[in-house]
Symmetry: C3
Subunit: 347 residues, 3 copies
């Protein structure tokens, strides 16, 4: 990858920030514009009309493809425009992890994280090594003793997850499924999604062994249908967990410290394992009534919850006003460019 | 109406933005002030003291009436001050649709929408013609097969609505009621309230056959008592649905496109049917776990959820900073005034 | 107290705003900095590392103590720096009400409120005299007729509270407890936490017999585990009520008036009883589906929910932009200083 970059990527010319038109793309484009970059949106067919309603979130130009998996066919075009790709959840989902890794284009962040994050086993290994508190996993369903959540490999946005309150309920529900899965203790508490940003090149602030850590916001997720089953009382509807939106929140100040400690260990371990998770990431946590934290997932890129904070959050406002995650990405590229350290934030 | 306006409304003098002191009035006044208008608040008895606590939301002057239904008696006074009335939910509720329509004062938006929106049958007809996905309605209660919601005509803010999980439960609950009602399928999912704005005179942005469409925010509603029944566990309390407040949210970016498509069809049909729904309106939607949208209601004016966004929302910030719905209304009047097209935004 | 102040507190030099590093301290420090004060954070052991991530919320210097109860040992050091202490929920909790009252340092607000607020009986007496609508209390458990909530004296953040749906359930649950408690009717509705600010020296705005009243924001609380039991359906888990975070909300405009009326009566009564609750306070309310208000608690200082509004709320934005409660405290000190009326806002 770096080979390609060195040959074909022009570090002197200015860049075009490019991403797929979905997920958090308006935030990414608006942030890039604020930092003075050109922007390019990749879409299938006609550019989505709704961008016209949001001038600050609309990219300067569109590139139409037939399928997101053929982005590599346009590598030359994108290199001519000196594009840096910004990955987001849908970007990786649409391409698939392996196609994404093959992209012969400079990409923000460290693509090596994908192998560790898209495989639940490796992700757990990474977080365990980091000393992050995780829900217990069951390899033998016969050992299930309380309430568990069952997650399918590759399932996105909570789709297909189910909760079982006993071994028997698990056996009944799993019978319908063929996919591979993991069984985890369901931790009873309140979930918080921490939107962190790790910069390997920034030397101020919350320092790590290398670079520093920022918290740009916290959100909660709204899942269809489970979030509104409360309106129906004691009705027998199977809950589903498809994320449809997000709520802004703040957390007790004393819990922020714990959040940072977990994030710090997660990043330090990522540096040892694969050179570091660079840029935005999300710790998906649950806080019990004893104020204990558990991490049930890590997202290694910008999350949709950050769309709440396109003009800043109660946390990012304590760093710099109007600093969204999208803008922070663009800022990181800008800083790296000035320092001549782009290789550390791109891959 | 236009007759009256032409005779008595002075298009050369500057306007006073006027509304009833309730609902979203502080937002309307603050927005009007930012756009340089004078403001007047209509109230019963003494001006509400709490306005003093919010200098930017307090109108320049108050007009005291004995009852909101007698506003027309003050038509001359209001015309002297060159007032434009801004309708909001409480305004229309307090006057009643027919009294509201009789107001002999220039009013923001198209009053003709009232006949289509206040009658559930005509509203459904409008939305059906527009191709908007709607929950199924039952004319014969014997055909009820799943969970349904029963809504009474003229009921405001969810008051008196009930949910029934079977034909039998419906029969038991309806026995207590004498009002006319509709029975709809209860769509299981998560509800989102889209705060749109349609301008018939703006030519940029998300274009329609005439004018353009904006999204100024999305919220969720907090209903008493159902929203907090969760705290009581499996207790047998009949849920009620009286809106008491609002929560700010964002929705998956891929769902914004669908929201705009539905809004576009709704407006285009309104133009065909009655000359167009002008200004703010709210699509009240539910999103299933298959990410399908249903619209269960349309509000044809500023909604209270927009009070969340008095200084901008994650959506309006991508258009222009600090653009509330209240301010957008004032801006629309200002633009129309400059273009000499006030007749298109007033009625 | 005033004796000490007059002797040792230098009203001519500028002040250092000091508080314990927890709860809402970043908001307090950031607000103080915006108003031009020096800031000092009191912490146990090493300064918490996470402050480095939030430069605007980090105090200029730290004072390390072995235990918060020994702050008085550092009184001389703090007086040398001309410190004003800002109390917050954790501050009072860590010291205990009686230790807090003994602090021989100028403290923002009226310490006399503590005796009235930390004792549930006196708090109820105060609010009853003020004519504030309160949930019924039961002195005799045999009279319990509906759903009740049981609160333990001194319990913080909802810890240990329980709900009982009958006399029998109450008897079963109380058997495990030895602490003293109160039994209140559980009011079914939606809870809103009003963040008010009372200034005894400001003469504009919402006037009281002396000074004036402001509303800086409204929030809802997220309690672990009860807030997310909805995800588990009809499962038999005992709900707990430990606050872990907060959600931003707005309330129906017509309910704001009622909120102010209750806050006004609460303050007027506090002036009569103990010279007034000065500065920020929170009315913890529940609104029924008949839009009736009940107050179930008053917090006599800055609450953590105000951390949502570090850059302003939909309410404070109608007063002055970017006015957090933390900043409002600093502003009050600044105004009092200019007017030579510091004695009225410190104790």
């Amino acid at each position: 990858m770096k080979q390609i970059m060195k040959q074909e990527f022009d570090y002197q010319r200015d860049f075009t920030v490019a991403t797929i038109c979905s997920h958090s793309s308006m935030q990414i484009f608006s942030g890039a514009k604020l930092e003075g970059f050109k922007t390019l949106g990749i879409c299938i067919g006609e550019p989505p009309k709704f961008y016209n309603a949001f001038p600050k979130g609309k990219p300067d130009e569109f590139l139409t493809v037939n399928s997101y998996t053929e982005i590599n066919k346009f590598a030359e075009v994108l290199r001519e425009k000196n594009c840096i790709l910004i990955p987001h959840g849908s970007f990786v989902e649409y391409l698939g992890a392996s196609e994404f890794e093959k992209l012969e284009l400079p990409t923000f962040g460290n693509k090596a994280v994908l192998g560790w994050e898209s495989d639940r086993k490796k992700e757990r290994d990474w977080l365990s090594r980091a000393g992050v508190p995780l829900p217990r996993e069951y390899t033998d369903p016969n050992l299930i003793s309380g309430t568990v959540i069952v997650k399918f490999h590759g399932a996105k946005g909570g789709k297909g997850f189910f909760i079982a309150r006993s071994k028997e309920e698990f056996q009944n529900k799993i019978a319908e499924h063929r996919e591979s899965y993991v069984i985890q203790d369901y931790i009873v508490g309140t979930r918080y999604y921490f939107q962190f940003f790790y910069s390997p090149i920034r030397e101020e602030g919350y320092r790590l062994s290398k670079g520093s850590l920022e918290l740009l916001g916290i959100d909660k997720r709204i899942e269809s249908n489970v979030y509104e089953l409360y309106r129906l009382g004691n009705i027998d509807i199977e809950p589903t967990f498809v994320v449809t939106g997000n709520l802004p929140v703040v957390i007790r100040e004393s819990l922020i410290q714990k959040g940072f400690e977990i994030a710090e260990r997660t990043i330090e371990e990522s540096i040892r394992l694969f050179g570091g998770l660079v840029g935005p990431f999300c710790l998906e946590t649950v806080v019990t009534d004893r104020l204990e934290f558990y991490v049930f997932e890590v997202s290694a890129r910008i999350v949709a919850g950050s769309n709440l904070y396109i003009s800043g959050s109660p946390y990012s406002d304590l760093v710099e006003e109007k600093m969204s995650t999208g803008r922070r990405i663009a800022r990181e590229i800008r800083i790296a460019q000035k320092l001549g350290r782009l290789e550390e934030v791109l891959s």
